[in-house]
């Protein structure tokens, strides 16, 4: 898995590429901690090149949700493929985590 971050229009975007499983989820966890600790107000995850996700990857998002809410940080995912979205929906995570078709839709939700 490859991961990199960028700032666009004041939004912190984490781009994930490849497979997010039990062996690689630690990298995402670190990136999430960093984004939250640097007082970001909007964090988006770009899933356009995310090929695979297991519960270890989804668990990273879940474990940060209460901190994100507490710090009033907007959080969402965008660009999930059909198979990644399917896994997300089997667990019902769409009820807890914002997800958008593409970046434009996500930025619109933020209001930038």
């Amino acid at each position: 898995m490859n991961l990199n971050t960028e700032k666009e229009q004041g939004v912190h975007i984490i781009h994930i590429e490849g497979d997010l499983d039990a062996s690689s989820s630690i990298v995402l966890d670190t990136a999430m901690y960093e984004a939250i600790s640097t007082q970001e107000k909007h964090i988006l995850i770009n899933c356009e090149k995310l090929n695979y996700i297991s519960s270890a990857g989804l668990g990273v998002f879940m474990s940060h949700l209460s901190d994100l809410e507490e710090k009033n940080i907007f959080f969402g995912l965008y660009g999930m493929s059909e198979k990644v979205k399917n896994v997300f929906e089997i667990l019902g995570l769409q009820q807890l985590i914002n997800n958008y078709t593409n970046k434009e839709e996500a930025l619109q939700a933020i209001g930038v």
């Binding site: 039990a22 966890d29 297991s54 879940m62 474990s63 399917n86 896994v87 089997i90």
Partner: protein
């Protein structure tokens, strides 16, 4: 048809298993979404075994088989030299509780149970044998 794979309990092997299964499931003409679900199920069980194994500071061998018969796909995962795992004690993940507890784990087996038609664990000779089945009626039509 029956396929076999033996691996060591090291997390970097998870990707090798996914590649192995992806090719077989494609050859069997399982749809992309459902092939991903089956790969996920095996990945979740193996990841759990590997985490447990790492906690005990040991490297073990795990055997995996995939059988396709009459439109039914069955996985068997052999976790040798293990204490009995009682699947009936497992409770499905409560998402609100996981968020409150800031937990990273706890969803894997819920995914497995939601995806498969049958999930069983047999215990024989100090080995937990996971048996996971799912029926795909459309595979019969394609033959």
């Amino acid at each position: 048809m029956k396929y076999n794979l033996s691996i060591k309990t090291e997390k970097q092997n998870l990707q090798k298993v996914r590649v192995f299964l992806e090719k077989i499931l494609k050859d069997l003409q399982v749809s992309d979404i459902e092939a991903n679900q089956l790969i996920l199920v095996v990945d979740e069980i193996l990841a759990n075994l590997m985490i447990h194994s790492a906690k005990n500071n040991e490297k073990k061998d795990i055997d995996l088989t995939l059988t396709e018969d009459s439109g039914e796909i069955t996985f068997e995962i052999y976790d040798y030299n293990s204490p009995y795992f009682d699947l009936t004690q497992h409770e499905d993940a409560n998402l609100q509780d996981l968020v409150k507890q800031k937990r990273k784990g706890g969803m894997g087996l819920t995914l497995v149970k939601n995806i498969m038609d049958e999930v069983e664990v047999y215990y024989e000779d100090n080995t937990n044998i996971w048996r996971l089945q799912k029926r795909f009626p459309y595979l019969l039509v394609k033959k």
